[in-house]
Symmetry: C2
């Protein structure tokens, strides 16, 4: 692990949908010094576009099935519209950025998820991050902006969980940087009481985390999210921060995750 | 002008729409040795998607008006779907490629077209090509794949003529390379008789060109196309080749344009 700090920021769906939030978030992002990477999801825009195009969004057990048509829409909306709009916005703020999906520079190589009981379709899990290519972009003082699309070695584009894209990139970059991972979503951090936004845990280590899982304070959707965070920490990422759209602001309330 | 040859290939709309043509074309493209760049249009896919989304394609005097909704669709379809699909296909053929629009790395900086009688909307003309960035990609043995979208300095994405994108890139790269420009469209080259596909002019220089314009052998849509070609030649591009989807094959019938 090097001494240079690299910040990997993931911005979630709902924040992207609101142009006011997005612009304010990007202004905070611009203020961050040093090398940085942005990873974005797509929110409901893909579902909305798919609906208008007459494609039904198929769900099994609350999880989206990405068939061929859906994957085309995701490539259009995440890889095209949202990605290029964010890059253009950053350029207007004098930040040199480059928009990437996993196929570009072979940067996120994935494997299609195995079909067990459910065939999720064009969904992939990352197997390799081309960290040398990312580093060459950072060395040119550019900001890589990733849409959550990876690519198989056979050139098949796959829908990929945005949180995982961010953590896999952060893990891979930890060879050369002290990496900080920022997850910006709707919650101010990990809450001890989901009904109370003021119950944010300010620091969480793995011992405390296990305790909170056992006592069922942490459950449901937070489980995979935090599993992801601790996997990142255990695989070399220095710190993970969880917060809302204000996370990048100084003195923002958040949860800091450490080993 | 250097000695190293760089090939800039533009592939037009209709060839992209047909997956069989596209695949065969990409196979020929893969066979080309040395540094190369691909520029693609979008064909009718954008119009089709726009129609399905309920956006009307507005035309004035046969020219498309790119309003805000159309520009979103173009960003989705050209910048996302088509661009990333081509990059993924090249990766599957073991060619390392990277998909770009003008905003990426500030690579194609344009100005919105001035409103005179007609407001064409979000349409731009390229003012600057960031050739240093393109060279850094070529130096990493990667193929830049451009969608025909440029970006203003204020971060506004603009629809841009694909032929002009290709020629502006070729001109800018002529500082460091001996540049060859390939335009692949539906015709086998410049024809002396539009009704006869066998009447391809094999070589065209500016003297012969002027003669053919005066005698009205060259007219209509071929005029701006050839104007573009000779501008490229006059600004440093070594050779321009015009042909159809077979243009990259050895011994293909084509028109070669020289000074």
């Amino acid at each position: 692990m090097g001494n240079k700090i690299l910040k990997v920021v993931k911005i979630g769906g709902k924040l992207i949908e609101n142009p006011v939030f997005l612009n304010s978030f990007l202004e905070d992002f611009v203020e961050m010094r040093g090398p940085k990477i942005l990873v974005h999801g797509g929110g409901n825009k893909a579902t909305a576009v798919a609906g208008k195009l007459g494609f039904e969004t198929k769900m099994i057990d609350g999880r989206r099935i990405t068939d061929k048509d859906s994957m085309e829409v995701i490539t259009m909306v995440y890889g095209g519209l949202i990605n290029k709009s964010i890059v253009a916005k950053l350029q207007s703020k004098k930040q040199n950025a480059i928009g990437l999906c996993g196929a570009d520079g072979n940067v996120l190589i994935s494997k299609r998820r195995e079909v067990k009981e459910i065939d999720y379709g064009f969904v992939g899990d990352i197997e390799k991050v081309n960290s040398g290519f990312i580093e060459s972009i950072l060395n040119q003082n550019m900001i890589p902006v990733f849409s959550a699309i990876s690519c198989t070695e056979d050139g098949v584009l796959l829908n990929t969980n945005g949180d995982s894209v961010a953590s896999e990139i952060a893990i891979a970059m930890s060879k050369s940087f002290e990496t900080q991972l920022y997850y910006c979503s709707e919650k101010k951090g990990v809450l001890t009481d989901m009904e109370n936004d003021r119950s944010v845990i300010s620091e969480l280590n793995s011992t405390y985390y296990k305790e909170l899982v056992e006592t069922k304070v942490i459950k449901d959707g937070m489980l995979p999210k935090l599993h992801n965070c601790f996997e990142a920490i255990n695989k070399g990422v220095a710190t993970v921060f969880l917060g809302d759209s204000e996370l990048l602001k100084k003195n923002a309330i958040h949860t800091k995750i450490v080993k």
